[in-house]
Symmetry: C2
Subunit: 223 residues, 2 copies
Amino acid sequence: MAAAAAESRYNMDKTALFKITYGLYLAAVEYEGERCGCIINTASQATDTPCRILVTMQKRNHTTELVMRKKSMTVSALAISCPTEVIRHFGFQSGRDTDKFADTAYRTDGEGNPYIAEHVTAYYSCRVMQSIDLDTHMLFICDVEEAENLSAEAALTYGDYRAAKNGRVSEMPVESEKKTVKKYVCPICHYVYDGDIPFEDLPDSYVCPICKQPKSIFQMIEE
Amino acid sequence: MAAAAAESRYNMDKTALFKITYGLYLAAVEYEGERCGCIINTASQATDTPCRILVTMQKRNHTTELVMRKKSMTVSALAISCPTEVIRHFGFQSGRDTDKFADTAYRTDGEGNPYIAEHVTAYYSCRVMQSIDLDTHMLFICDVEEAENLSAEAALTYGDYRAAKNGRVSEMPVESEKKTVKKYVCPICHYVYDGDIPFEDLPDSYVCPICKQPKSIFQMIEE
């Protein structure tokens, strides 16, 4: 990848970062009557005593803005059976335009932050102890104040999601043109755009449905 | 879990944290002629521009001490075919007592930090830009300065490793006593001890082979 290599005097293949393993989570918050949630993939446990997790979220996300004000949120691990529709519902639209919880059954934690009890395998109620500005993203270091297993199911990984998505695509009627359609990948969360509209024809306002990166940073995949 | 619940006025089941998905990585460093590496599970990409990853490491690890001095390290994603022996070699002993790279073929990055080219699917050369003290652990916010795919293989997840380990155990001769043997889990990285020596009989100096937590924090699993 010549473009990526130019960024460093050393060997720099950003596709190598795709090898980092992620789960898939729903982060959600209620702030002054407004509820908002979005799909994220970077949550990890940092320490056990106190029980602390790290959450990285795109700054431009409306959920992130509300979390910065509220200083708390829920993080829920999606279950392996979680339908794509749930991911689309929370990941493919902005909370600025719609109340994603309006037609969704949810419960609230001790801080009034929502979490959905269906399609998730566990939730964590998180208090933000430290916020670190990483330019495009905020890193929240959180104390976990509540945690509960909501099902015995395994957690959905981003790899599972990608494989399922690819499976769905391969079930579609084979078109001879399909071979020449170029896929584009979001370099931050590895979401692969392979919709029917050619990527080039998507509006400039298109953002990654998972991590909200702008269209401009997507990278073409040669296949 | 009564013990865990006592820590919070809310519902706190720490086993819910097991649902967080992790990869499995080898972190390594060379500092003033000393090489050291250890197995870690919390590496995640934080931002794309600049290309930045988060790495959390147990403070007591010798590798962590050297990284704090050197301010750089390699992080390698283990390949799905990585033999358990490699994980044992880098995870089950301390670099204070032995040079883990002595009989291991390795290359070095631009900073002289080692990485093994076999059994890993990609490596990242990381410069520590910020270190955050999380009591038992250090959180390193790193710029990625080199990155390379070393094989086309998928990355090993901690779930794969645990499943493989459980598989190996189930292939052992069934003992009638086996049913009553209690397993213990490391609450930070979810490593499950199910060795032949009863956990209670392990020395007090026993530490989690993956994340180096002390024996005292392991939690018994009722089965």
